[in-house]
Symmetry: C2
Subunit: 607 residues, 2 copies
């Protein structure tokens, strides 16, 4: 064990248990210089696999931080590889390349100490943070708590680190952590604080879900006051397949007050001046008793001093906290933009039906890519109403996007004709309905293949959950923008767009008319499904909360209805398995967040 005084200086080292108290005082308290440090948090958007590109970005942000007078700059978890690299981690060459890039980076970062997330390799792999200092990697921390639930598979790849790491820089003691580490009350921060850390720096790739920024803030407030420590929490931003990283980094002082905030859903360089004396003063005041808490062996490394560039000015930061609907909208826009850009697409194509789902997706695409980079396709059939076409055209005009009209009657007739023998003696059923949806899917894919556009699908979470969608039809496309938005949330976020724009971008009638797939005469969604406000409540309980049929019925829904919905969810897993990826918005999305067997005879307590 390393014993450090409240100034961060190593007093002595010894093995074994707790022997340190926050209440110890020195007679020199008033004689020591003020212990301030300027911290920069680089909230950057790496691309998975683009090790050299990410390294370049890290170097450029490190240089910006140095110029701004920072002595220490934090980069996100696995900033060098992007997060999550998934099975790229199984390629030995990938690990080699990331290690080589770290070495090269360490030689080039000067005048500022940097914390850089990378993959370390000893006997196994570690999710690691490097302390890049004066031209070399001065120390490495291995993440101790590996998430292996929800969207996370870290135990598939990494071993858990064994010991917390503190470092002393400019006379201040920092505890270094990675993401999940901070979620445990008895995690490394506790031991680090007991071993003298005044500032906990935690680097993250923490995925977004609705309301998560607030959950994190509560957590950080609790953790900072528990440990009487400043917490600097830096997060990735950007979209990576199903995941959005929302940034929204925070610095929370030892009283649990947020003293700096990163921009949500944007790259940012968050610069804060930290005063470690307030931490030691608070600790003395609290008179935390010695010997009451355990302090397992914490490694400490003294980095000496970084003489930061003199730059007294610190620009005022505008704190931006988003409401729920705007937060979701920004997540959709970022997720869509990054999926296209990072995969080399510039232009999106969307089938416009005149309904609320495709209207919202078109708005998101316009915001993400620019209206000139989105094409709407109207594909009327014999069952399409005049109102639908009007609403689709008006929406496109309001957005300012191009449209194409490609009627499906010709191919539909040709299919019916070529299938006549095979279908002889049968009655029309969903075969003919789905045929129309699949013709539309084919038309959009043909445009994609012809012009290199990416097809955005428009299905919402309510539909995807119960399988109210046509495989290879309206489900055909590269990215499912609103796949994780329940229909009721689709309406809310759509309303928010009109509110933010201060005009009716999405026509009023789109909000008020009855939802329909228009695949047969006079069809409405509610022929097959309960009203969406009921359906969405049942689905939340069943899909997101794992409640049984009986439990959900007890919430006040008809038992038969709940059972029917549950069966629809279970029996349509095969459709979801072939759906394109989409943006995780809820605590449990329908992607790698929820891994249900297709072959599944479980009746969910509803037998």
């Amino acid at each position: 064990m390393v014993i450090i005084d409240l100034r961060g200086a190593i007093v002595k080292e010894r093995a074994g248990g707790p022997s340190f108290s926050f209440t110890r005082k020195t007679p020199f308290d008033n004689l020591l210089p003020m212990r301030n440090i300027r911290l920069a948090m680089a909230q950057i958007n790496p691309v998975v696999g683009d090790i050299n590109g990410n390294a370049k970005k890290i170097l450029s942000y490190a240089e910006r931080a140095r110029k701004a007078g920072a002595a220490l700059v934090l980069f996100p978890e696995l900033a060098l590889t992007g997060y999550p690299p998934e099975d790229l981690l199984l390629k030995p060459g990938f690990i080699d390349d990331n290690l080589a890039a770290l070495e090269a980076l360490a030689e080039r970062v000067r005048g500022v100490t940097a914390v850089v997330g990378f993959v370390d390799r000893e006997a196994g792999l570690y999710n690691a943070a490097a302390l890049v200092h004066k031209g070399e990697v001065a120390a490495v921390y291995h993440k101790m708590h590996l998430p292996n639930y929800g969207v996370f598979d870290e135990e598939r790849y990494f071993r858990a680190g064994k010991a917390p790491l503190n470092f002393v820089l400019n006379g201040i003691t920092f505890g270094l952590e990675i993401c999940e580490d901070i979620w445990f009350p008895e995690g490394p921060a506790r031991a680090q604080a007991l071993a003298g850390a005044e500032v906990i720096v935690n680097i993250n790739a923490s995925p977004y879900h609705m309301g998560k920024p607030l959950i994190r803030e509560e957590l950080l407030r609790a953790r900072s006051t528990d440990n009487t420590a400043i917490i600097a929490y830096n997060n990735t931003i950007g979209g990576q397949d199903e995941l959005i990283f929302d940034g929204a980094g925070m610095v929370v002082n030892e009283r649990g007050e947020v003293i700096a905030r990163g921009k949500p859903f944007q790259e940012d360089l968050i610069i804060t001046d930290l005063d470690a004396d307030t931490v030691s003063a608070a600790r003395r005041k609290k008179r935390v008793k010695a010997g009451k808490r355990g302090a397992p062996g914490v490694r400490t490394i003294d980095l000496g001093t970084i003489k930061a560039k003199s730059n007294p000015g610190l620009p005022k930061r505008k704190t931006l906290i988003l409401g729920e609907k705007e937060e979701v909208l920004k997540a959709l826009v970022l997720g869509t933009r990054d999926y296209l850009q990072k995969n080399g697409f510039r232009h999106a194509v969307i089938g416009l039906s005149g309904g609320i789902d495709s209207s919202l997706v078109a708005c998101v695409a316009g915001l993400a890519l620019g209206k000139e980079n989105v094409t709407g396709v109207l594909m009327p059939s014999r069952y399409t109403s005049k109102e639908s076409m009007e609403d689709a055209k008006l929406l496109a005009r309001n957005i300012g996007m191009k449209t194409l009209t490609v009627p499906i009657e010709g191919p539909f007739k040709a299919y019916l004709d070529t299938m006549r023998d095979a279908f002889r003696g049968t009655r029309p059923n969903e075969a003919e309905e789905n045929m129309q949806a699949r013709i539309r899917g084919n038309i959009l894919m043909a445009l994609s293949n012809k012009f290199g556009w990416l097809v955005l699908t428009t299905g919402n979470k309510s539909e995807m959950s119960v399988g109210y969608a046509t495989l290879y039809g309206d489900m055909a496309g590269g990215f499912a923008v609103i796949k994780d938005l329940p229909k009721t949330l689709v309406y809310k976020v759509s309303g928010k767009i009109n509110e933010l724009e201060g005009r009716e971008v999405i026509p009023e009638r789109v909000f008020t008319k009855v939802p329909t797939a228009e695949l047969r005469p006079n069809q409405t969604d509610q022929d097959t499904l309960p009203p969406y406000d009921v359906l969405d409540k049942i689905l939340k309980a069943y899909v997101e909360e794992d409640r049984s049929i009986e439990e959900i019925a007890a919430l006040g829904f008809g038992r038969e209805l709940v059972r029917k919905v549950g069966r629809m969810v279970d029996h349509r897993e095969y459709k979801r398995r072939q759906a394109p990826p989409g943006i995780k918005i809820t605590p449990r999305a329908l992607g790698k967040d929820r891994r249900m067997p297709i072959t599944n005879r479980y009746e969910n307590g509803g037998r």
Copy 2:
């Protein structure tokens, strides 16, 4: 620690380290009765989620085992829930139901002791084995080694057990293990043997891949001779989504000889008479030194005696070891049959092109479902050759399956017509090619929707790896039978079918003609791809072995070619993500076995 003598009787219990030697002798060796026991291994096919159905099957096999005179019967890992239950495990009601079923089962199993795999719950969940004995659950073992790689996610759900468990039955000491436990030389078997176990019983849900039965046999030989113990290894059989469990259980004696084998790819009840005296004799002879090995605390429970039904007859078992090609064929047939049956389908539909892939899938479907339950659909286009139609028809006739002919020219013309404006000024490209494949996909799906048939897709692993397939076209369907067979293996297994049938089921010309997608005039696969024997070698190194471009080039392939293939693999991840599930055949399949990001700029050392 529990000290047990070589007869399996508990001598005394004490805490702490190793103090037991295999060499200890008693003066009564020659006076004791022979210690024989009849063991039954029930190699059953559970259905995931069908807890009651599985319990019923377990009960019926237990009764068969009792009638055959067995004192002990083994069921597979998680036999009660099916394996893998995936996120069903997150539903509290699912765990409740499985616990209730175990209790009910324990009351009903009589006259035989049973080892039953189930999910146990304490503070967390455990992959567990119950010792069902005389009307109750006498003890529970928690799996100690949890696989979390490849297709496995056990750390997502389970905690690891802390202690090995031995049990004494009819004077013989058994060590109880689950699956992964046996793969570690220093796993529980070592401690169990040192604590007196003469027979290690290991229950499994061990997924098949090509050659795995032999790998397991080598493992069991090593483990049994290492520990001078009999090993009874019981495995699940059946298909579950992407996975096949091949059964092929084994009993290996203390000299490493296989003394009984379960049928491969079939349910079976494997009955063996075990002689524990040969184990103790072998141990005395080996004179294993005391104190040389550690024996961590092993729990031991004495179950007393089961008076087995007198039934001296033990039917002769025919040992069946399959060659590689036949093994793969049986895996395909079992996987296809179980996917359809367990999901409530009776009939499959397949697009027949006259090529080798669809020919093999049609044969597999015929073997799995019966020829009367398979329909082949011929969908000629303007580019389809006379030979293709002849070969498809001849194949169908040879199998004895029904066919439909649905030409695609009408819909194709209608698409070109309705797209005329949108495509004006462009040249034909893959848009028009894919359109044809998608028309075929739509026709098959329309037949599926109309008649309740399941569409089997026909893409092989070579195509799926490089994305030489049309999304929503030939990739459209419920189950991808040969998705994990490289093209070169497709030919081999197809040849094996003709050999086994003793006639030309698949027409000779199908083997010899040049592969083509027939989507434009005079097209062949080799316009776009290297020859399949070259491609398959590169793909194995790249996809299954994670080798870099440089390493593969060094094996004797052109660097540019390897780089091109690598890029095709990486850039087509989005297609594979929307592919139907298919049967895992190789050590690394293209499903949950390989989790690559879609958004991925890594260049694999080939920059």
